[in-house]
Amino acid sequence: MGIRFILMVNKQGQTRLAQYYEWLTLEERRALEGDIVRKCLARNEQQCSFVEHSNYKIVYRRYASLFFLVGVDNDENELAILEFIHLLVETMDRHFGNVCELDIMFHLEKAHFMLEEMVMNGCIVETSKSNILSPIQLMEKTS
């Protein structure tokens, strides 16, 4: 499965985007997000970006007020996931220009489409920024 879920959470612990690649009920999601956010937001800059959580691990990275949390299988490459997060942020940055929390809040749909371009079935399928963004630009033209 590789990637199990991707979360964007602000520093108050509010979820701003949640994308799951396996089916969880709402209660499970709520519990999981609560657990993870509590675990990761308590950590400081001197600590590493990997947290073990039940039978998988979380790779997270903080950009200003926003935390990007990615749940991955244990044998996934942690550093590659960190790079993936960075790529995601760069891509959004290119699209929105100085991306911030509000951009993601008000353009949640677009953020989802970017993720869909990058990840399929929990596998990273696309890593080129222009390839990721071209369908979105196409969509904007179409609609």
Binding site: F50, L108, V125, T127
Partner: protein, 926 residues
């Protein structure tokens, strides 16, 4: 009209942002609106409502399963904006069991065939998220067509969807697999390769064997690709494949090493390290190279890299412990890292390093860290010490005296919450290791004596164990009166009833023991009017006597000690103490406490008149004493029966006696019992003792030499020397300890010595010393006998049979990959030495055949109603035939494989595995 006043998603988001407290009220209000608006016939109103609902669903955990049908309506709208809202809602909220899911099948097919690229993308995305068996089966032909699309983004996504198709509908393999393999070679378009490698990475992680024939393609990518993402995935695939085929491992080790040293990307480098350590661990030079890179990670400033370095060491530890030992200093230092994750990882590594020769030193270092750590990590440390040391019936413990005093010390650590585990181990060791009982009792006594410990609820379980041990092995107690006092001290009221009951029972045992030895000494001093009772002499010689106990047992040693302590006065004192402390408990609400209290009181009532007479008037004395000692001896005998550990499977091994029919109805038992009750009770007691004997002879198999009387005196002496030549203490301390007769376990002294040096560096230094292999001190003390209960002792290892969940999937893959080849193979198996060219040629031929087959099918798909079904039927028939073929050949194959070098173990009962075991490893690589 509706849409005019409808709030847009932006309104909702703004509204949500301005709600501070009443968010849920706002959400339910919006939800109400949505429920109304979504019923609208206007496509814009409906899709906006759905959009709002989707937003609330993913951010505020609002249920939207009720809107499933509306979402399906939205994707059927021609307007792309509405359509994509519908698709997003579906992929966020549908699951396989959503009732209306089948209704989207037609719409998906329509969109998959659309000319608009983004529509196709949406449909593919959607299928990859929610596809169930029916959807995947119905849409496989469309996806297959798209896999050859000229539009790269579409093709890429179609490949991504294939993973879902295979997972849900394994027969899709027979349709799509060939095209998937071909995509591997499309090196001209990187996105395709990266997508297809991702798919194979996932597939191979589930069933690597099936993809071994594709190794040449993967190898080509490994050597040629410049994309780190792709390389990481390929490495992951090889991590799975290499252990299956040693020749493949040999082939890839060089490029991987080169990649590892050349690349600038840490992620790729780490993946190389991981691949080498996991799957190429036999290649010493590669592991050395990897170890060098790990060192670089460990000294990096980035905590991420340090963590991963430790993680890599943990991977390598089981096979190459030297790599860990080289970095031991760093590992120990990491125990005080600011990051709890790094601490945990280094603790795991430290535990990996533990061996028989360094367990004492490592545990010392760890306990010191535990005392300084915050509660959570402290208990993690203690937990890992406990589990490592007790692993496989205390395999690594040689000096049990040390271990037992360590347990005592651990219980005193402020944050210790491992009461239950320590309790279990104390009792377990007491039962298994006879030689350590004196030390156990000493540790137990120290714990019991300390009134402060009674206030800590985490220690109650440990105290319970200590009380039980002191009662059970009371003969090793130096001063039973003192023990009684601590068992009955007022603060025991803080204990929970169950523990208190243990305290009472132990007090009872101790009392009986005191009386027994008092009466015994009284009679013996009566006869030999000399009397040994000079306290000065005896306290000095005490240690020697106690040293004798291990080998000597109770009989000879105990009387000598006890004489010094049990005077008529102290007996009176004891009886008074019991009246005072136990008396009130006879009315306790807890039945266990009440019952035990009454037992004790009843016994003292009985014994008091007899004893008090014997204490004073001279003439009657002898007669009374005999009577009292009879009583006491009876009880003493009851308590001094040895309790042995019992194997979990013991019951099963008791042979059923002849003539005993277990299955017969026992209805007539009552008649038999009624008539011969006294007789039967006699047989029961006889059988009881018989069982005990039987148990000892069955279970305690290693103790023969101990019961041999010939070597008794020499072994006594040896035992004594062993005990006091404790090799973990320097000799001068040892004598000090001996003279001081101190109350604390010797381990505590050492501890105070170390805690002075609080600095982490000092500890690291200490650790450095401690990891030096201590040849010198080796085996100063022989390991005592540890009773093991053969196979029943260790929990049965759950023989985990890796059951391939997606059996049908791997079967299908195998079929496609070597369906034809396998046939040919049985004919030309001897051609293991065949030339490269011939085999390759054949492969190509097969490939062509299959391709034709597929193309043929493709062209048919317009006319035939359901080509997939048709085909799968056909191929499954074919597969059956193949299997039949294999079945016939099995005998031959087995014989052949026995001569072969590699894995054929999967034998007869697993036909698919057998088929794969003859997977021709592509010769290109070899």
């Amino acid at each position: 009209m509706d849409s005019l006043f409808q709030r847009s998603l932006d309104d909702i988001i703004k509204g949500l942002r301005h709600q501070q407290a009443g968010e849920s009220a706002f959400v339910s209000k919006v939800l109400e609106e949505v429920r109304r608006e979504i019923k609208s016939t206007d496509s814009h109103t409906k899709s906006t409502a759905l959009q709002k609902l989707t937003y609330l669903h993913s951010i505020c955990f609002v249920d939207m399963s009720w809107a499933a049908f509306h979402a399906i309506e939205c994707i059927s709208y021609p307007n792309f904006t509405h359509k994509k809202v519908g698709y997003l809602a579906i992929s966020q909220s549908f699951q396989e069991s959503t009732p209306v899911i089948l209704l989207i099948s037609n719409q998906l097919r329509k969109d998959l065939k659309s000319n608009v690229e983004v529509e196709v993308s949406l449909a593919l995305e959607c299928l990859s998220r929610i596809g169930n068996l029916d959807l995947c089966r119905d849409l496989t032909p469309e996806v297959f067509t798209l896999m050859a699309s000229s539009r790269i983004p579409v093709r890429k996504k179609a490949i991504g969807v294939v993973l879902r198709l295979f997972g849900k509908y394994p027969d899709a393999v027979r349709v799509c697999f060939k095209r998937l393999v071909e995509s591997l070679e499309s090196s001209d378009s990187p996105p395709i390769v990266s997508a297809v490698i991702g798919v194979f990475c996932e597939l191979a992680s589930k069933d690597p064997k099936a993809y071994l024939p594709l190794a040449p393609e993967f190898y080509k990518i490994l050597v040629d690709s410049r994309n780190n993402w792709v390389l990481i995935k390929v490495l992951k695939i090889f991590t799975k494949l290499a252990p299956l085929e040693p020749r493949l491992a040999k082939k890839i080790v060089e490029p991987i090493c080169e990649l590892m040293s050349k690349t600038g990307a840490k992620s790729l480098m780490f993946e190389c390290i991981r691949t080498i350590l996991t799957s190429l661990a036999e290649h010493e030079s590669a592991v050395k190279l990897a170890a060098g890179r790990i060192n670089e990670l460990l000294i990096d400033e980035d905590p991420n890299l340090r963590y991963l370095g430790l993680h890599a060491l943990a991977i390598v530890a089981p096979k190459h412990i030297w790599a860990v030992l080289e970095n031991k200093e760093f590992v120990i230092k990491s125990l005080s890292d600011p990051d709890p994750n790094i601490k945990l990882e280094s603790l795991r590594l430290v535990m990996e390093m533990v061996s028989e020769s360094n367990v004492v030193e490592i545990c010392r270092v760890l306990v010191n860290y535990a005392t300084k750590s915050e509660p959570e990590f402290c208990n993690v440390i203690l937990g890992s010490i406990l589990s490592t040391c007790s692993n496989n019936v205390y395999e690594i413990i040689v000096d049990f005296d040390w271990y037992v005093s360590l347990l005592g010390e651990m219980s005193r650590i402020q944050h210790c919450q491992k009461g239950e585990e320590i309790e279990n181990q104390l009792i377990d060791i007491g039962m298994r290791v006879q030689d350590v009982r004196p030390e156990l009792v000493r540790v137990g006594r120290d714990l019991l004596m300390d009134p402060a410990l009674l206030g800590n609820p985490f220690l109650h379980r440990i105290l319970s164990a200590a009380a039980w041990l002191c009662g059970e092995y009371v003969e090793f107690i130096r001063n039973p009166v003192e023990l009684m006092e601590s068992l009955l001290q007022p603060r025991t009221s803080l204990l929970p009833p169950s523990v208190r009951a243990v305290y009472l029972e132990s007090a009872f045992k101790a009392l009986v023991f005191c009386l027994h030895s008092y009466l015994k000494s009284a009679t013996s001093s009566d006869h030999s009017a000399l009397g040994l009772s000079d306290p000065g002499v005896s306290s000095q010689s005490y240690d020697e006597f106690s040293g004798a106990h291990g080998e000597n047992g109770e009989a000879s040693g105990t009387t000598l000690i006890q004489e010094n302590h049990i005077t008529p006065d102290s007996v009176l004192h004891l009886l008074n103490l019991i009246d005072m402390a136990v008396g009130p408990l006879s009315g306790s609400y807890d039945v266990e406490i009440q019952e035990r209290a009454r037992n004790i009181l009843g016994f003292t009532e009985l014994i008091k008149p007899v004893l008090s007479d014997s204490l004073h008037p001279q003439d009657e004395r002898h007669k009374q004493q005999v009577e009292a000692s009879k009583m006491v001896r009876l009880l003493h005998d009851t308590f001094s029966d040895e309790l042995g550990p019992v194997s979990m499977s013991a019951q099963g091994r008791v042979p059923v006696p002849d003539g005993l029919v277990l299955h017969e109805n026992l209805a007539d038992l009552e008649a038999v019992c009624g008539s011969s009750l006294p007789a039967s009770s006699a047989t029961i007691s006889f059988e009881g003792s018989h069982n005990v004997e039987g148990a000892t002879s069955i279970f305690i198999s290693d103790q023969k030499e101990e019961s041999e009387p010939s070597s008794e005196s020499t072994s006594l002496l040896a035992e004594h020397r062993k005990r006091h030549g404790l090799y973990y203490l320097p000799s001068e301390k040892n004598t000090e300890h001996h003279e001081a007769n101190n109350d604390y376990p010797p381990a505590n002294e050492l501890k105070s010595g170390v805690t002075v040096s609080n600095d982490a560096q000092d500890l690291a230094k200490l650790a450095e010393q401690s990891f030096l292999p201590k040849r010198k001190s080796k085996q100063v003390k022989a390991r005592p006998v540890v009773v093991k209960l053969d196979e029943g002792d260790v929990l049965p290892i759950s023989s985990k049979i890796p059951q391939a969940k997606d059996d049908s999937l791997s079967e299908a893959v195998r079929d496609v990959l070597l369906g034809n080849e396998a046939d040919a193979d049985t004919l030309t198996q001897k051609a293991a030495a065949d030339s490269v060219i011939r085999k390759k040629g054949k492969e190509k031929l097969n490939a062509k055949e299959q391709e034709d087959d597929l193309d043929h099918m493709d062209s048919q798909s317009g006319t035939v109603q359901n080509p997939v079904k048709e085909r799968s039927k056909r191929s499954s028939r074919k597969q059956n035939a193949d299997e039949g073929d294999h079945g016939g050949d099995k005998g031959k194959q087995k014989r052949r494989h026995r001569h072969g070098k590699h894995r054929t173990r999967e034998g007869v009962q697993n036909p698919p595995a057998n088929v794969i075991s003859q997977t021709p490893v592509p010769d290109l690589l070899l």
